[in-house]
Amino acid sequence: MAGICDMIQLVYLVPLFPLLGFLINGIGWNKLPRSAGGVIGSIAVLISFAVSLGIFLEVKDGASAVVTLFDFIRSGQLYIPFAFQVDALSALFLLIITGIGFLIHVYSASYMHDDGGVVKYFAFLNLFVFSMLLLVLGANYLIMFIGWEGVGLCSYLLIGFWFKNRDYTNAAKKAFVMNRIGDLGFLVGMMLVLYHFGTLSYNELFGTIQSGNALVASGVYNWIAICFFIGAMGKSAQLPLYTWLPDAMAGPTPVSALIHAATMVTAGIYMIARSGVLYNLAPFALDLVTWVGMATALLAASIALKQYDIKKVLAYSTVSQLGFMFIALGVGAYTTAVFHVMTHAFFKALLFLGSGSVIHAMGGEQDIRKMGGLGKHMRITQITFLIGCLAIAGIPGLSGFFSKDEILAAAFARNPALYYLGIAGAMMTAFYMFRLYVLTFTGIFRGTESQRHHLHESPAAMTIPLIVLAVFSVVGGYIGLPPVISEHHTLATYLGAAVTNGDTVHLDHSTEWMLMGISTGLAVVMIFAAVVINKKPSFTPNTGLARVLENKWYVDELYDAVIVRPLYALAGFLYRFAERLGIDGFVNGVGRSVRWGGERIRLLQSGQVGFYIFAMVLGMLAVFALSFFWIR
């Protein structure tokens, strides 16, 4: 084993190379030639992918370890090492992050080639990967938190990449602040853990909990779990903190792919899956997770029905897919959630990159009302995109089908209502994805002449990643075959070492067959509906519900009116009245009153000797009166 263990001991290489990439690109942001940035960045990620592959191979054989690099914070009883945890869960995520990350790097190399700040761009991209790796590798919540905030930072930098545009920078700000709100929840959660258990490291914490000699009330678990979940809301864009994700489209498209597929949003799922032990003891928190996830899934899906921006549709679909994952977490099927994370990573990355190549071809145009019939100009994109759509829609045989179906099954086992709602969500997914597909690739072209002229297939650097991802979107699901097909659930057994699922009821096969049938059937139906409806598209201004959906349920406006404006109003009020008039006014008032008093008292000095003597006599009177009628 010794020789093998070395690989795990080398885990620090995994984040190291992206960091190096970041440093090189970052320091040479204005010296390096444009092409160099892409090369350096991609290679960095590639190496760490290789390393993590090695690690994965070891971990697959049951190896796991905690690698401590150095003391991070040590103060009295508080001891937090800078340590990495290598086990099945983190290894899997390493693969996803570095693998898909690499593809996206390669893709961006050509996508961003014409941009001036390409080197800076790759620096940020590497930093992003680095932070995400820290997040999943951390052996305690603090290291996770570092990555947690790190990805927030990178999303801020990348969303605001074109910083001259005020809307983009606003979006970036929004993303960061929303995340910060979540992070506060996470922080409070950490504090609670520290206060009650005195440690942040996973092993010690879960060890104490499982050994059962943790002397804490059951309510505490709920509180901790809820606080952490608030953090997850921020990162993984759940209600009510999801609004930043659609706006994050402001960044370059590959960034969206990275955020949505490989990094960032999956953090929340990873965190909860990691803290499964904790969550299993927090039933209330789990229910909360479930219903929030459900609500998010439905809401986002419904919004996606009426979006015209190709990336917005995908963004909302991500939100709703994340909702599905949280449902899975909520019902205690952590492995299922992770499974869906993986498959979703494949096809969502695929879809985004596809849309990227579409936008590339359309010369920056994102409105699907202006597209149509692109299929004949860009075959590869069309086909890969179609695969992605089928996968996400849950057509049997593709990855999405297995993972989503597992989620629905688990939900049904917990509570049929969940299942039906889930189905509704799934149907909407199928519908809007194919609406998107049809409007984009089929029918007649609705754009301008100039656009039509330079429509073209993207270069190989962009299409190859598409193809690779398409392949994975197809086969990715077969590591998690449902029980009805094979008793051996590869992923579940693999993750079993690291993740302790909640008590999930196992359904008998007939029910499972039925469930699959229903979902598949409905999905197919919705697909046809979508195709039929959007064959001859007519974009009349929406009315009624459709209008509400187009405007995303007016949630942003709501937040603006309920939180943002009042806050600024309050601040202005405080500044103008409490500060200027109130406190400072008081302070100055004291000084002014002293001056005023001085001015008055000095008038006693009338210059009249007679009065002076009179004052003396009065003083004597007062003195004697005091001494004879008060003191004794």
């Binding site: 000095r602 000095q605 009338s606 210059g607 009249q608 000797v609 007679g610 009179f614």
Partner: protein, 99 residues
């Protein structure tokens, strides 16, 4: 006569002196009232000296007279100086210095 009577008397004189200083505007008269106060004190001192049968207080009276004389010399000089300037000894017009 017991000393109480003299206490009454000299306190009365003393107070009349004070009242005088408060009531009059003529610097000289005010000064005279102050002299009155001093004399009240003298009277009381002598009375007490009789009571205690102690000469030192009469010596004290003597010194009070000495000081009074000196004060008169200076005081009247100042008043005259003032009079030379403003041709009045009315204290109410002394208000160049105020506030």
């Amino acid at each position: 006569m017991p000393v109480q009577y003299y206490l009454f008397l000299s306190l009365a004189l003393f107070s009349i002196g004070i009242i005088g200083t408060l009531m009059r505007r003529n610097a000289i008269v005010i000064f005279m009232c102050i002299e009155l106060m001093l004399n009240a004190v003298n009277l009381l001192l002598v009375a007490f000296s009789k009571m205690w049968n102690d000469p030192s207080s009469q010596i004290f009276v003597f010194f009070i007279m000495v000081v009074a004389a000196a004060e008169v010399a200076v005081g009247l000089a100042i008043i005259v100086l003032m009079y030379r300037k403003v041709h009045s000894v009315d204290i109410n017009i002394l208000n160049r210095l105020k506030h």
